[in-house]
């Protein structure tokens, strides 16, 4: 029972947990997360169902994975607390007196004789220690002088600060998970939408896409107005990496798109018999426009931004990007439909009009315009301050622990026949190599001074 309790409060548990978390996390990245049951069935067959039941398909939100992280957190609390009190005592009220036998048991140690009496030996050693910026405490008892010299004592608490930081980060994660809000809104210009659980709404005044000379996107910018009780209170242009923060809500430019339900099409009509003939038509989907002198009306029935034929040879769109814009148009003379067919902006040669009773006329899809909408991600996450405080502690602790290593030298000076017997030992949890060097320099300097 005691052994079990010991295990649960030990670093060994932390190590076991770390190994399990590492293995589980690796599996979680190999299995695609959050897909549909059908997809897992296709991918893994029978195994798919088992993986889903064990929550490997939503691992990072699963109870057991979060429990592992929580156990690690709990273990950190226990390990840090049980070590902290003795550590603080040792850090701030250390025992100065030492037994030469214990010093002899240290890894870094030396024993030598000085030809002066202990008082003088002590001063000589202290001078060398002070030169290397050690802070010295001393005590004398039973004719034995003990010195405790230390520097960078704060480095010693680095690991505790790291662990506190991790706990604050974990707390932040829990707060985010419980109270964080997320919402994604698609706006067209001049549209106002309410913000979830907030007493204000957001209006998109303008949305623009900026391009580089080579045609790739430079940035998306949305001019937003915050509206409280019907009155505009704030205005800001947001772009990727530059969100707007209002009352704890943060608004991110997260994407864009075109409202392909309402495009305006530029269609050119040409005649093979007359090269100078050109009529430019502007048509909205569902509208008819007249081609006057031909006594003809042209209508756009359907529009697809990224035309593709599916397995059943039915037209569809591959994406919402205007990669292959295509329009289905019809020509009407009175009540009679005289032709219909698809015309393509990128591939005019592929345009086919069926039942054409006007073979002289041809149509080209020159340009397509649709209202662009801006996708704005809204998040309100009260866990975030915890994360930044936790990260600051984490980094402060790591830099203290690794770049500010504590060094401790203990010396006992004993008298033997008017001369001094010095036993010295050093402790440094980290940077042993460098400390060994400093220790031996220190000792040889101490010997030389007398």
């Amino acid at each position: 029972m005691k052994a079990l309790f010991h295990f649960f409060t030990s670093v060994r548990l932390a190590i076991v947990l770390l190994i399990i978390i590492i293995i589980a996390s690796v599996l979680g990245t190999l299995i695609p997360q959050g897909r549909s049951a059908e997809e897992y069935l296709v991918r893994y067959g029978q195994l798919g169902g088992i993986l889903e039941r064990l929550r490997f398909t939503r691992l990072y939100q699963s109870f057991w994975y979060i429990s592992l992280l929580a156990s690690l957190g709990l273990n950190i609390v226990v390990c840090t607390l049980t070590r902290l009190t003795p550590k603080i005592r040792r850090g701030f009220r250390p025992l100065v007196e030492a037994d030469p036998k214990n010093i002899q048991a240290l890894k870094i140690k030396e024993r030598f004789r000085l030809t002066v009496e202990p008082g003088a030996a002590k001063e000589a050693v202290k001078k060398e220690l002070a030169r290397r910026r050690y802070r010295i405490k001393e005590s004398t008892s039973e004719g034995r002088i003990s010195l405790l010299a230390r520097k960078r004592v704060f480095g010693w608490f680095g690991s505790d600060i790291v662990h506190m930081g991790l706990l604050v980060i974990l707390t932040g994660g829990v707060v985010s998970g419980l109270f964080g809000l997320k919402q994604s809104l698609s706006f067209v210009e001049n549209q106002t939408l309410p913000v979830l659980e907030a007493n204000f709404s957001i209006r998109l005044d303008r949305f623009i896409t900026e391009y580089y000379p080579n045609g790739s996107v430079r940035d998306w910018k949305s001019d937003l107005t915050v509206i409280e009780a019907g009155r505009p209170v704030r205005q800001k242009t947001i772009e990727v990496n530059h969100p707007l923060t209002h009352q704890g809500y943060v608004f991110y430019q997260s994407g864009y798109g075109w409202d392909w339900q309402n495009p305006t099409l530029q269609i050119w009509a040409k005649k093979s018999s007359d090269p100078s003939y050109l009529r430019k038509l502007s048509v909205k989907v569902g509208e008819k426009v007249a081609l006057e002198e031909e006594n003809l009306k042209v209508s756009a029935v359907r529009f697809l931004p990224d035309f593709v034929l599916d397995e059943k040879r039915q037209p569809g769109t591959r994406s919402l990007e205007p990669n292959n814009p295509a329009a289905f148009i019809e020509g009407w003379k009175g009540e009679e439909r005289i032709f219909s067919g698809w015309i393509f902006a990128r591939y005019p040669d592929f345009s086919r009009l069926h039942g054409a009773k006007e073979p002289d006329l041809s149509f080209e899809l020159k340009d397509t315009k649709a209202p662009q909408y801006s996708v704005i991600q809204i998040s309100k996450d009260p866990g975030v301050p915890f994360i930044w405080v936790g990260c600051s502690l984490l980094m402060a602790g790591l830099f203290l622990a690794f770049y500010w290593p504590t060094r401790e030298v203990r010396l006992v000076i004993e008298e033997s026949g008017g001369k001094s017997e010095v036993t010295a030992g050093g402790i440094s949890a980290k940077s042993q190599e460098a400390f060994r060097q400093e220790f031996s320099d220190l000792m040889s300097a101490a010997r030389k001074t007398t």
Partner: protein, 272 residues
């Protein structure tokens, strides 16, 4: 001279440095190791110029595609190695370490890596790009040093076990402590650049500091592996073989985070 010329000259210097270090392995003459160090240092200077030129030409940080970031990783690896060699005299590691550097340089110059400086996509237009990528890669460069010295440790240990002294090479014990030193320098940097700056930027750009994206999970895995290394070592007193194996796994995890996730897993983080 253009950036490509400087890059090529750098590459040649690194190869020559590696040759010198290999000569040192066999001849055991200090002179060739010193020549290796000098050549690698000159290479580092030219490489720095190449990176500066790249920054000036492209107008953005020199690590926005695979070519650029590999070149930067090679640069930071040489920097990390030269610092460790200068402070702790592990000359025999030079030959092996420069092989990694040459591998990075060769990958960077392979025709598979597009080299044109493309304009920055919106998500990368942030000062966090500088902070996040450079600090992470410098941290990983120190993991690379630990990787090489750990492999050397395993060999030296096997040799010492068979009762042969390691000749002029560093003792197994020294290699073990240098691996630790490299991890001790790299770990805080990797934490700062990879995790902390990564979270800060993700929050700024995507609206959430952590989304369990494969790249994020893999950098967490890498971090956990090195946390394991440190705890088993500092608290439980593991040393030597077991420590070396964990350091090797840690570097491989870091490299998988860097390359593997991009090519094998689908990720939000698909820039580099």
């Amino acid at each position: 001279m253009s950036e490509a010329t400087f890059f090529l000259l750098t590459f040649i210097l690194y190869i020559l440095a590696a040759v010198c270090y290999f000569v040192f392995l066999f001849s055991k003459k200090e002179g060739s190791a010193k020549a290796g160090f000098t050549l690698a240092f000159l290479g580092l200077l030219l490489h720095t110029l190449a990176l500066i030129l790249r920054t000036v030409e492209s107008g953005h940080a020199p690590f926005t595609n695979m070519y650029e970031s590999l070149s930067f990783l090679a640069w930071s690896s040489v920097l990390a190695y030269l610092i460790i060699e200068w402070k702790y005299r592990v000359r025999r590691a030079g030959a092996y370490f420069l092989l990694i550097v040459i591998a990075f340089m060769a990958l960077a110059s392979s025709p598979l890596m597009p080299k044109e400086a493309a304009p920055l996509v919106p998500a990368l237009q942030s000062y966090w790009l500088w902070l996040h990528v450079s600090v992470t890669l410098i941290g990983e460069a120190f993991f690379a040093v630990a990787f090489i010295t750990s492999i050397m440790y395993l060999r030296a240990e096997a040799r010492e076990k068979r009762g042969r002294m390691s000749g002029t090479g560093p003792s197994a014990e020294k290699l073990d402590s240098i691996s630790y030193l490299a991890v001790a320098v790299g770990f805080p940097l990797f934490t700062l650049g990879g995790l902390v700056f990564g979270m800060a930027w993700a929050y700024k750009a995507w609206g959430s500091y952590w989304s369990w994206d494969p790249k994020e999970v893999w950098s967490l895995i890498t971090w956990f592996v090195f946390a394991l290394y440190l705890h088993t070592r500092i608290v439980m007193g593991w040393k030597g073989r077991r420590s070396a194996v964990i350091a090797i796994i840690g570097f491989l995890a870091a490299m998988f985070t860097y390359f593997g996730v991009n090519y094998l897993l689908s990720s939000l983080h698909s820039y580099v």
